[in-house]
Symmetry: C2
Subunit: 175 residues, 2 copies
DNA sequence: ACAACTGATTGCATTTTGCAATCAGTTGCA
DNA sequence: TGCAACTGATTGCAAAATGCAATCAGTTGT
């Protein structure tokens, strides 16, 4: 399951990295959902990835240099997956992809609010988000307080839509 | 082979449109290569798509609203495929994808020069390119002379690299 | 001691993919 | 008229990917 190298075209090579139905979904959940453990990714995504496919893609993304794996000090069997700089720089692509999908595809309102906020925020917001991800996954220093992160503001926007659509119902499957 | 709708997430829905190894390759060849016929797409791409897969993807992209098909007046069996606005607005995504691949993947110099020029040109160049595609595929008016198109300048850049790498050898498989 | 949870792995049926060969109709040329 | 080349596909088939359920060994909390 390694890279084919059908040609040296940048678009082709990019497709060989995440030209499948699951790799970008996993990266999305790590980037926007803050998921870092196998179980979180397995049970957290709306698209219900199978455990063998998740294991395969995590392995593949590590081989490609998009993820790294480390032991979790709180649990001897637990592994923490981290994004590499290579994966973090996908943020603008995900932002554009979300913006495009929001225009042309039958997206649901509550799931597209994040894409809308990210599009409205533009490149400055993407840069801020990438810096937060670098802090979170690569350990680089950051001066953003935990309650003022881009991810928190995206999540707040999501919850506002959910609350408006179902007032009083306190259920949040994505929390 | 229609859309799954695993979830209403914009990124997921986008992946269901071109989360495979061939759909974006076909769109790339139509957008950057100017290919509009089955045979051009079949023989023109470096990645050697099989004819049944090409037929399947063309059909699928039409069902999804990314392409339209029309009869070619010069040949009763010939079909001309056109990009829709939905497909034309992928240009920024392809630009970002090419830029990302150029940084992180083992691209070849002659095939990545187009991505580099497109990245350097930025959003203004993308807009100009999209206008040219609208003129070419949707018949909208345009005042750009045929020799000053974005595609022509990308092609010129490509040929300059090829000429520099193999001076005197007049072969150009992409012409 | 024991149930729940950790990151996986295995087996298996179904689906998708990719390659080679082939198709019928159209065109250009001798 | 005859025939080769070209048009957009389609078919058969082997290989690969997918998705589901069951299972695994080790760890943790009670």
């Amino acid at each position: 399951m390694s890279i084919d190298r059908r040609s040296g075209c940048p678009i082709n090579l990019s497709l060989e990295v995440f030209g499948d139905r699951w790799s970008l979904i996993i990266l999305r959940d790590m980037i926007f959902g803050g998921k870092r453990h196998f179980r979180d990714l397995l049970n957290g995504s709306l698209e219900r990835i199978a455990s063998n496919i998740l294991a395969d893609r995590l392995k593949r993304l590590m081989e490609l240099g998009m993820l790294t794996r480390a032991d979790d000090p709180t649990h001897k069997q637990k592994a923490i997956y981290s994004l590499t700089e290579m994966a973090i720089t996908l943020v603008p692509i995900l932002a554009y992809l979300g913006a495009w999908g929001r225009v042309w595809l039958p997206v649901s309102e509550e799931l597209s609010i994040r894409a809308e906020l990210l599009e409205k925020g533009g490149p400055p917001m993407w840069e801020k988000f990438m810096d937060e991800l670098r802090h979170e996954h690569l350990g680089t220093p950051s001066d953003t307080p935990p309650d003022a992160t881009v991810r928190a503001s995206l999540q707040a926007g999501y919850e506002a839509v959910v609350a408006r659509k179902a007032p009083g119902a306190g259920c949040d499957p994505d929390a």
